[in-house]
Symmetry: C2
Subunit: 203 residues, 2 copies
């Protein structure tokens, strides 16, 4: 448990990914998100866009029908989960880093000292933000948010058996809508830097 890792779970559109990148930039440590997807893709042979989708589908039940190749036994999503588990464990062993999403908090629960962060914001803030960042779509931003939240929560619940967004599962949860992205970045960096054991980990 040498390295200290910042894991960021987040609601879609809350700016969690942006916050992760800015925190990593300030602390001078790597941030794994799309980079992690690429690594999973390389290792699994699956296409990156497919992995991105599968990462938000919980196997079992209607959500997974497109990804299950048969009714019983491990499916593609389970296979990806294994690769993801192994990769995240390896990355955390390499050195301090920020990992956005992918249940890293759960995966590293026994093998790394994690600062477990959850970022959320209200619907209005996130709706405005996803239109700005990802552009307009046929579906309303509200519908897109509901759909994404539902998938992420189901995925998280399936693999971790923990309730997504429950304060008790994290060291800190932040409302990026009311506090602002910059304040979230500042608080997370401060917590990381103030950790007496964590100081040696900084790159």
């Amino acid at each position: 448990m040498k390295n200290r890792i910042i894991t960021i779970s987040r609601e879609f559109g809350s700016g969690g990914r942006t916050i992760g990148k800015q925190v990593a930039g300030t602390l001078g440590i790597p941030c794994y998100d799309s980079e992690l997807l690429q690594k999973i893709a390389e290792k699994s042979g699956f296409h990156q866009a497919y992995i991105k989708e599968a990462g938000e589908y919980a196997p079992g039940g209607f959500l997974s029908s497109a990804f299950s190749h048969c009714g019983t036994g491990p499916n593609n999503a389970d296979y990806l989960w294994q690769i993801q588990y192994q990769l995240i464990t390896e990355l955390a062993e390499k050195g301090p880093c920020v990992i956005v999403g992918r249940c890293a908090d759960y995966i590293l629960r026994d093998t790394a000292r994690c600062l477990r962060v959850f970022i959320h914001a209200d619907m209005a803030f996130r709706a405005e933000r996803i239109v700005k960042v990802y552009g307009e779509r046929e579906e309303s931003p509200q519908q897109r948010l509901k759909d994404k939240d539902k998938r992420r929560a189901a995925y998280h619940r399936f693999y971790t058996d923990m309730k997504w967004g429950h304060a008790q599962n994290y060291d800190i949860t932040l409302n990026s809508g009311t506090l602002g992205i910059d304040t979230c970045v500042e608080l997370i960096c401060r917590l990381y830097q103030n950790d007496p054991q964590g100081a040696d980990d900084l790159a």
Copy 2:
């Protein structure tokens, strides 16, 4: 909405009350907790110890049987809720302050600018703390914690229809067990002081 209020909800034994008092001390603003109980007592004519108990019982269902004087219509708990609602609203109008518990976040949702905080910690941390702070009892500390958490959650849910401890209901939630009481105090003070609109409110 002139004044800025810090509302602190907390799990029993997490140090939320201590954190509230220290935050208020640092910021030079009042903290209402046992003081608030006393005010409610004075206004309602009920005994203070009774009010403390009733504040954690949700009317309706088995929890409230001891406090209901009849099957229908408002009961004592409802009457106390009305007084509490009015008192908290008045206190928030008087000036910036910290209010611990009593659903203040919900009560002030439309009438004050609140920094909504939730403090929690894991069972082991809280069990050790309640024995240190409140002494040994016949019941195990774990049982006392479970019982208190259940009552607080039911009370909160009954009057606010919001789920207690859901990250989405707060601006910030903090794990006092992993972060430490002092760090929680520091972060809350920093958030309050950094608010550009809040600076004028400081006493």
